[in-house]
């Protein structure tokens, strides 16, 4: 099976490759654990409203990526190869599709699709946009780590959805899983292509370390319960 973490690009990440890999592995593991914990709690209390609340910050991420990617293109796009502008735009389109798809899943569970940042997603969103303001590659690094974190949630989500007969949730996340391989590969390719000096690499690591501490938290059952309290 293809490993998008090994996508070809430039050598810009080579000096920090080991730490980047460690950060990505770490957030995948944290998110997988958090998702397992959520579905274990859902096994005990299979209230559709809880699942809808768990999906709400996921849904917001999708539309916030749309806003962010378009802003990344608007601010910094002319520094990138044309094909990377095209691919960022393609990712943006797919994120918009995901917002629609996850939104429909939330509605099917009786929930409400978020149209502003849910409080539990605020730290994530705030950090992402701060990264965009700091450096052209920082937002890419932050969303890349965040997208990678989501990949840790897929298998536990599929198992949980199967246990509860949530076919639509399963179908939607199968589609999202496919697209996120593209997004993870694109982000890493851009970082390795455009990172040129130690300052660029320091911004990338700062963004990834910061996002590592945030990205998995909204997957926990505690986050859902706090949001519903």
């Amino acid at each position: 099976m293809v490993d998008v973490r090994k996508v070809r690009g430039g050598g810009g990440l080579d000096p920090i490759r080991a730490e980047v890999d460690e950060l990505l592995d770490s957030v995948v593991e944290s998110t997988a654990k958090a998702t397992e914990a959520f579905f274990a709690s859902y096994d005990e209390n299979p209230d559709p409203a809880r699942l809808a609340a768990w999906l709400a910050p996921r849904c917001w991420r999708e539309i916030d990526y749309v806003f962010l990617l378009n802003e990344e293109i608007a601010r910094y796009g002319m520094r990138f190869e044309r094909r990377h502008i095209t691919l960022l735009a393609k990712q943006s389109f797919q994120e918009a599709e995901h917002y629609d798809m996850v939104g429909r899943a939330i509605e099917s569970l009786g929930g409400t699709v978020p149209t502003s940042v849910p409080p539990e997603a605020e730290p994530w969103s705030k950090f992402l946009w701060e990264c965009l303001d700091r450096h052209p590659l920082a937002a890419i690094a932050a969303w890349n780590l965040s997208e990678t974190s989501a990949s840790g949630s897929f298998e536990p989500t599929f198992r949980g959805a199967e246990r509860h007969g949530l076919d639509e949730v399963m179908r939607i996340y199968k589609r999202i899983e496919t697209d996120e391989k593209f997004h993870v590969g694109l982000g890493l390719q851009m970082l390795s292509t455009y990172a040129e000096d130690d300052e660029d690499r320091a911004e990338i690591l700062r963004a990834m370390r910061g996002m590592r501490d945030i990205a998995w938290k909204t997957f926990t059952p505690e986050s859902v319960d706090a949001a519903r309290a």
């Binding site: 293809v2 998008v4 590969g185």
Partner: protein
């Protein structure tokens, strides 16, 4: 990221080997130039729409001047011809950078492999590594001795193991000899024509992952599946034979025949459209298959890749 254009003046422009012009650039006002590290390149606007990238091959410690070297490529697209015919001392050139997509990484020892003008990013790397007292080996191949730039400068670098291999005297570089036995904590840096890089990738396939660092003269062949000649694709399970025209993608032709192939990026990054190859040789243009997978040739990403021969047989 150094992203603004500035105008520099050509201090000197001299042939340093057959068809290779060495050019030094200075700030017209005598201001110091931005610092750079081995592996860095600059963009040079040659006018008439020609913007080209050239590796810096001077001394990173000299903030007063940058040096580049340009091979005249008579079958090229015109950029190098403009350099050789128009660039003279006193000419002003807009430049941007430096940028570094080919940085030197920390290692216990270094193996450098350069082909022709690919010596340009390698030369400052060799100097840096020698200054650090690290063991280094350089295998430098070229068409003929007179066409190989900077040989004297390389011979003056202390320590190390330099072998200059003119093809007309000694044939091609013996990559198997130099890459046959992997060594721990050794970084391989390769720059040169595509066929050299492809050969190094093949011969270094059994080295630890991440050992090989390479810089191509041109962007990797990610051309969203167009060009490269027409060929036929046989979809074995469906019993279909289709023609893929020169400027249509393999994936689009398959889909047009009503065969579903799951895809996402359609740019050779995500690997979603991966298909097993039953026969024929793929022309891999993706960015994600490993060197091993490419060499085996038993899978292909039809969104961007094509066929080397007349027919490709796929498990569809």
């Amino acid at each position: 990221m150094t992203d603004t254009w500035t105008t520099l003046e050509v201090e000197s422009a001299q042939l340093c080997a057959t068809d290779v012009m060495a050019i030094t650039l200075v700030d017209p006002g005598g201001e110091p130039l931005p610092g750079w590290a081995p592996g860095a390149h600059i963009d040079v606007d040659l006018g008439a729409g020609f913007v080209r990238q050239y590796s810096l091959c001077g001394d990173p410690g000299d903030t007063g001047r940058w040096r580049i070297a340009v091979l005249r490529e008579r079958a090229g697209r015109g950029g190098s011809e403009r350099v050789h015919s128009l660039v003279r001392a006193g000419v002003k050139l807009p430049v941007r950078g430096p940028r570094n997509h080919f940085p030197l990484v920390d290692a216990d020892r270094y193996l450098f492999i350069a082909g022709g003008i690919g010596i340009t990013p390698i030369l400052p790397m060799v100097r840096r590594v020698a200054a650090q007292g690290r063991p280094w080996t350089l295998r430098y191949g070229g068409r003929c001795r007179g066409a190989m730039a900077f040989v004297d400068e390389l011979r003056a670098v202390p320590g190390g193991d330099l072998d200059v291999v003119p093809e007309d005297e000694r044939g091609l570089l013996d990559l198997r000899a130099v890459l046959g036995s992997p060594t721990e904590r050794t970084a391989i840096f390769c720059c040169g024509p595509e066929r050299l890089i492809a050969a190094v990738e093949r011969e270094a396939a059994h080295w630890p992952a991440g050992s090989l660092h390479r810089e191509r003269f041109s962007a990797a062949l990610v051309d969203t599946g167009s060009g490269g000649g027409a060929f036929d694709v046989v979809l074995q399970r469906s019993g279909l034979r289709l023609t893929v025209p020169e400027y249509d993608s393999l994936l689009e032709v398959i889909e047009s025949a009503g065969i579903d192939v799951e895809s996402s990026c359609r740019a050779g990054i995500c690997g979603t459209c991966l298909v097993r190859v039953c026969a024929g040789e793929p022309d891999h243009r993706d960015d994600v298959l490993s060197d091993d997978e490419r060499a085996r040739g038993d899978v292909v990403l039809p969104c961007v890749s094509r066929a080397r021969g007349q027919v490709l047989v796929l498990d569809l």
